[in-house]
Symmetry: D3
Subunit: 140 residues, 6 copies
């Protein structure tokens, strides 16, 4: 039994479904990440889109803002996921989380994952918010 | 410069403020945890309440349902936090997250923290949902 | 765009493909884990099989023995994955890794993830090997 | 029940107490970190000082050298905390840990957290020690 | 080039040196752990003693109390190391750390690794202190 | 009982044995890492070679390709080990793992450690493969 060819019609349907979801929430950060995988790990790129977005992200149990809160919590706790935090802070803004909610997520995380993890996440938020001219962030 | 006495009037005011927040969201799981600390780490117990709940959880930037989504994400990603997951799954139900949203949080987490972390969290959810007669969970 | 119904014919085909792979390598540990998810997280169970085994494990880039070496390394490093280590030590034996290779994997892991993680993994190996009457393990 | 205003007189007293502790141990690395938070997460900055230093660091149960040994152990084990390791290696020198003790901490950590974590910590120590003209470190 | 036989005279000298160090600090918890490895991972047991204690723990750069503070910090941060925490809390008492210092280590850890990791460590400390009749712990 | 002098004849024999193993598998990446430790942590460098390679890596229980699969799995799961991943991706190529096997290792890791950890590992693989002119990788 071997894995399906990612270029087969069935898999391309799955991929397109995931890509629609990704494009709806991402606002343009992800394509560069995905393209970067094309010559080294195309199957990984395929499954991030087809499985991660097409099968999971699009499920109705949580709305995109809720999914981003969970994702920001996970990435903060894992540590060493600065590139993914950058993508997901942008996605969080795109789906409607406010800068205040994003910062509060990391402040809240300090109690559960410690100040260093929270500070590293804030550093990435500052980078994204500076680019998007969103500073200063309203505190409350 | 030494730390304030946790039994001083000022610290007791801070503690009471935290306790009100904790009681409002927790629905009864936390007191046992806190009491368990009384003869070994009373200062840690004090600060979890006074700082964790009085200073942070009560901030307006996120509502309790949002805070629980972040917390569940963090605890799932950290791993080895089964006792805290149990407390926080109960708290999540208390503040209004549905069993479906809680399960979806762990399903979503699989993509970011891997299937093993997601499965461990589901195991704790199953324990709590069984006690509360919330199975089967509606898989929408 | 919503996620595909896990009970649709297309998804059932994907699931069956994954189940064949899982059955070929697992030797009987996984069904209980999967069944345990049926009333709480059927979608997570579906995707572990359809994606994890049908899409990834069955890819030709690594053979099952190699996949198990990678998996044992990951689970040891993550920590707190004792239930999954137990399943995967059994799977490792099923696909042909010897007890000596499994123990050597954890001994090797000590240098990269520290002695505590290695010791926790050995504890689980001892449980599995005892059940299967595989002790003492030949030390190289 | 809402969180106290970090600009209230009571909170400013707590902040000043923490700042005294921080200044006494830090020797100048922290202000830049704190200032960097002013326009994005002032509450996080406030609580790192008021809680982390005013409430915890100043407690009498451990002296500053002991606290730094614990902190260096934690940051090494967490991984991905290079910015915090840099701050805390400087703080460790300030409170009187010798370069030899700091390096020995990371060498010791290799057995418990693995060589990669130890090497990453040494890389940061080398940066700080080079700046402070503390190389070569006496090895014993 | 193959690894030295752990039963060779040279390796037995290294092992005996480590065992002396281990016996001097451990006070009786470790032998059971080591013996448990005899029929499954004797080489791992050998190297924990010969390398971990004979080569590293016995180095003069840190005294045993300092090494235990670092170790408790690491094990708290890693998570999922409850068996090792239990051994090392006992060792910490044996080398002269007070219950207050041990509890303060975990309270301090809350800020850097989060409250859940601190609480899990306190749970193990409570178990050890109860057995040794060391409760209540003097809080200062 | 004190640790052996790393410059003693016995330790130099152990070191030379490790160095032979390291040179046989590494193909030239490690010396720079080791040399970098000479003026700050010579004992750590000594033990990585004498213990990590002389005592462990050279054991017969796993061959070098198998050890590298385990190591890549561990480093991916730990996170924050990009410098070590770079060294070990080079070592993996040197001992005969193909670029396809290395990429498949990280794709496989996605299911157990999550997509972010897999993506970070692929980023380092891309850097190494670009330098060695190994792109595009055959995605079988």
């Amino acid at each position: 039994m071997t894995a399906p060819d990612i270029n087969s019609p069935d898999e391309q349907i799955r991929y397109q479904r995931g890509l629609e979801v990704l494009n709806a929430v991402d606002g343009g950060s992800a394509p560069a990440v995905m393209e970067n995988l094309a010559d080294i790990a195309p199957a990984l790129a395929h499954h991030i889109v087809a499985f991660g977005f097409g099968d999971i992200y699009s499920r109705p149990g949580l709305d995109p803002k809720q999914r981003q809160l969970v994702t920001l919590g996970i990435l903060t706790a894992l540590g060493g996921c600065e590139p993914q935090l950058e993508v997901h802070i942008r996605t969080s803004l795109n789906v409607g989380l406010t800068p205040t909610e994003i910062v509060e997520t990391f402040t809240h995380a300090a109690g559960y994952a410690g100040f260093p993890r929270a500070l590293n996440a804030i550093t990435i938020a500052k980078k994204v918010f500076t680019e998007r001219n969103l500073l200063p962030v309203k505190d409350d």
